[in-house]
């Protein structure tokens, strides 16, 4: 297996153009920290890490652009130096997947990687305002730009965010950014079951007090459950909202407070799903459902598969473990998600399981047909990875 490292868009165009002419598939790699889905059958990999560097950063305009292979850490450090951040709080998959390497900003965009703050500030795709990519014809295409409001033409920015390289190789991405919060506090209510926990989160998210994280951590052996809600902002405002929120949730029990560093550490652990990182031999699924359906879905998984669970996004994002035997829980996960009006993705599994079990929820027939046509439009020779493992 050889790795190709274009250092410019022109080089990427040449590599992809030749691959298209030869109909020779290419795997695409950013930092290689998020291998999800069927392992790509390709002799060669095109990796973005030589396409690196921040190309524009205007703090006063709240916008940053970087080549796709730029380490996420470099982008976050540049922002932090100006007390700014990516609002969507991208998950670091390394602790969960046991991968090494540097996550790239292009990988974040290509997989629409979003963390707990998605509930308040939107997903990666909501912050992404511009892209450049090389399509399967070896042509560089741009969409969007460096300004926040832009409705000029079809929005390929959103369409390629989360497409996992199936439609093109991202070469440069532009995000809008937000100021860091001056302080943060987390309210913790102990001992609620999942139904009461998610009800508390829903109540909190229905208040005007701008909860920016809302998760339920079920009881671990020898411990109780924790239902957690994060407030961020200027200190006087956080102090005020903390009082009001605790009072509004009094019926669910007393709220303890986690401040500053402790709060940050908790949310980093939730973001990275550290709770399910061990033991490493288990499969881990990600289910996205209407938030209030979360507990019922969780119960089904506990009963059918003995899953350990983590609820984020007010109950709407469920991380669930399963034994990596048979279908690694696929049928039960898919059925539970579908019954709730959501979908399930296999995020962690060994290569053998990933080769055998579909990671992504298949599209219903009319969308699958559209996806095939769209794939041909972007990648006529079919050299990039399939769209969500579609046949």
């Amino acid at each position: 297996m050889s790795v190709l490292l274009p250092a410019s868009e022109a080089e990427a165009e040449a590599i992809i153009g030749e691959a298209a002419a030869a109909r020779a598939p290419l795997a695409i790699e950013g930092g290689g920290t998020r291998p999800t889905g069927r392992p790509v059958q390709a002799e060669r990999t095109i990796a973005t890490r030589a396409l690196s560097g921040i190309t524009l950063y205007e703090p006063a305009e709240m916008v940053i652009a970087a080549r796709a292979g730029t380490p996420l850490a470099e982008v976050e450090a540049a922002l932090a130096a100006n007390r700014q951040r990516l609002a969507f709080e991208p998950m670091d998959h390394r602790p969960l997947l046991g991968t090494a390497g540097e996550p790239t900003i292009g990988g974040v965009a290509a997989a629409n990687v979003s963390g707990p703050r998605r509930i308040h500030s939107g997903a990666a795709r909501d912050s992404l305002i511009g892209i450049r990519f090389v399509n399967g014809r070896g042509e560089t295409v741009k969409s969007g730009g460096r300004v926040m409001k832009n409705v000029t033409g079809l929005d390929l920015v959103k369409f390629l965010a989360g497409a996992r390289g199936s439609l093109g190789l991202l070469t440069e991405v532009t995000f809008k950014v937000l100021p860091e919060a001056e302080t943060e506090t987390t309210l913790v209510i102990a001992g609620l079951d999942a139904e009461r926990g998610v009800a508390a989160l829903s109540a909190a998210l229905g208040t005007p007090w701008e909860v920016t994280g809302a998760a339920h951590l079920p009881a671990e052996p020898g411990d109780v459950s924790h239902t957690v809600m994060r407030l961020e902002g200027f200190a006087p405002s956080v102090a005020y909202r903390r009082e009001r929120l605790a009072a509004a949730l009094a019926a669910f029990g007393p709220a303890e407070l986690l401040e500053g560093e402790d709060s940050r550490a908790l949310w980093a652990a939730i973001r990275d799903v550290r709770l399910l990182a061990a033991p490493p031999g288990k499969a881990v699924w990600r289910l996205s459902v209407p938030p209030m359906e979360g507990p019922a879905v969780g119960r089904r998984l506990e009963a059918a598969l003995g899953s350990r669970l983590l609820y984020d996004w007010g109950g709407g994002l469920i991380w669930a473990s399963a034994d990596e035997t048979g279908d690694a829980g696929a049928a039960a996960m898919r059925a539970a998600a579908a019954a709730a009006g959501g979908h399930a993705t296999l995020v962690r599994a060994g290569p053998a399981t990933r080769a055998a079990v579909a990671a992504f929820t298949p599209d219903p027939a009319p969308l699958a047909a559209l996806a095939r046509q769209v794939k041909t439009v972007f990648d006529p020779a079919g050299i990039f990875p399939a769209v969500f493992d579609a046949a």
Binding site: S143, R146, K149, V151, P179, G206, F360, D363
Partner: protein, 478 residues
């Protein structure tokens, strides 16, 4: 008439009008089919009134099934379709062609489900923007995107144009607030995407459909995010002696970590016209005025307005007026919100809608003044200063021969300027027919071909709103 070229009609369609109408009559109730010329005339234009064209017929279906049957039929007949909401597009997005059938969703205006626990609302696409917030305000919620036309415009139109509003600096635009949709493709296929979950499986179809200006399918239903209403909100009005000072003040506010819900900028001519109309108490002796609004509890609002007015001191403000009451807040906003109406009383105007990097504001305002002066026209500027969305209102006299053309020339120059400084042709109104031929200034032929091929994947015969968005010359279809 103006310079924007017309799309040639499809051969034989106008001639087959009688049989097409008969086919439609078999699919929808009589009241849903409009054929008489004087009634069709009501659909000949939208808010870009310089362009008019009476369509073949107008259909106003009441269900997704009817929409599906109508589209499938028109697809078989090879007849073009122009989707329509309330017809408030400022870009001519809803302008018919003589050989097209307008399919309007105005009768599909029911609220289907309110779910405050999941913070969503499901509506038929013809419901008005304001009615969505109206359906949930008594529960303490609202729908965030708030175009000034919200009393009239529909969710269908908002989705098609990815509409914004004064409060999108904090809450985002339409695309950030839609979770699901039901869409009828040109061949009549009904597809459902997304729902109440915060993301959907597979490709981001929703992200593609929002802002697609009726090019990909006809939206009949939507699931939208609703948000809790803030405890309160209050603006401060600040006047400055130059665009540089006002612009630097905006940068400093954002640099301090404050994200106001709205930062609106008006230049001297805009202030003058709005003040004469609304008597909002605007300062008439300043070059630039900012309206900055913050939200929260009384104490939070006091704190934030205190921080903002302290920051402003560094930029030599000539006026600072913090609203102290609901009545004062309303007056401050009344002037801004009536800007278009006020302008319309003194002259004909063209409302442009470019976006620029906010740091380029002083330069862009200078160049806009030059562009208009060179053609003897006046211009007033309204600017969503937080996000760079600029609305120059080019004033002209429609009765003067060549008046419209001169204004259109100015508009085109201004939008090219926006692209030149790193911005774009349209921030929230859409390309429509108005900016179709300007697309070549923002996109390369390769960029455009990628978009037109994608449209072809949805609509191979280019029957959906084909007169819009993409320059007529050189369309790459496959």
């Amino acid at each position: 008439m103006s310079a924007i070229p017309k799309l040639a009609p499809r051969a034989g369609v106008v001639e087959r009008r009688a049989s097409i109408l008969a086919g439609l009559a078999a699919l929808v109730p009589p009241a849903a089919l409009i054929t008489a010329e004087d009634e069709r005339r009501a659909y000949e234009t939208d808010a870009l009134t310089a362009y008019r064209q009476i369509p073949l017929a107008v259909v106003l279906p009441e269900t997704t099934e009817e929409v599906s049957a109508v589209l499938a039929f028109l697809n078989r007949e090879g007849v073009r379709v122009v989707a329509r909401g309330a017809g408030t597009s400022l870009a001519g997005g809803a302008l018919p062609t003589e050989d097209s059938v307008v399919v309007g969703v105005s009768k599909m205006n029911r609220i289907l489900e309110v779910d405050t626990a999941n913070r969503t609302i499901r509506v038929e696409a013809g419901v008005t923007n304001l009615a969505v917030s109206g359906a949930v305000s008594h529960l303490g919620f609202f729908y965030a995107p708030d175009p000034s036309s919200q009393l009239a415009c529909t969710i269908a139109g908002n989705i098609a144009m990815n509409s914004g509003g004064a409060h999108c600096l904090k809450y985002g635009v339409t695309t950030n607030n839609v979770l699901g949709a039901k869409i009828v493709l040109m061949d009549g296929t009904v597809v459902e995407i997304g729902g109440k979950a915060l993301d959907a499986a597979g490709l981001d179809w929703l992200g593609l459909v929002v802002g697609s200006e009726g090019q990909l399918g006809l939206v009949t239903e939507a699931t939208l995010r609703i948000l809790p209403l803030a405890e309160g909100a209050r603006p401060v009005l600040m006047g400055f002696s130059s665009a540089e000072d006002a612009g630097a003040c905006v940068a400093a506010i954002i640099g301090s970590g404050i994200i106001p819900v709205a930062i609106e900028y008006m230049d001297r001519p805009a202030i003058k016209v709005c003040e004469a109309f609304a008597h909002a108490g605007y300062p008439l002796d300043v070059e630039a005025m900012l309206i900055v609004e913050v939200e929260g509890s009384e104490a939070e609002i006091e704190d934030l307005l205190g921080r903002i007015t302290a920051i402003a001191q560094d930029f030599r403000p000539q006026t600072i007026k913090v609203s102290r009451s609901e009545a004062e807040s309303l007056a401050i906003w009344k002037g801004r919100k009536s800007a278009f109406g006020a302008m319309g009383r003194i002259a004909d105007y063209m409302c442009m809608d470019g976006t620029i990097p906010t740091g380029q504001l002083p330069l862009v305002l200078r160049r806009i003044a030059e562009i208009c002066a060179a053609r003897g026209l006046e211009v007033a500027n309204i600017f969503h200063a937080g996000d760079g969305n600029l609305h120059p209102l080019v004033l002209f006299n429609a009765n003067e021969p060549g008046g419209l053309e001169k204004a259109e020339e100015c508009g085109a120059e201004i939008l090219k300027l926006c692209v030149e400084v790193g911005g774009c042709l349209t921030g929230e109104h859409g390309v429509g027919v108005e900016k179709r031929e300007l697309m070549v200034h923002q996109y390369t032929p390769v960029d455009l071909a990628q978009q037109t091929r994608l449209k072809s994947a949805f609509d191979p015969a280019w029957l959906l709103n084909p007169n819009k968005v993409f320059p007529l010359e050189g369309r790459v279809l496959s």
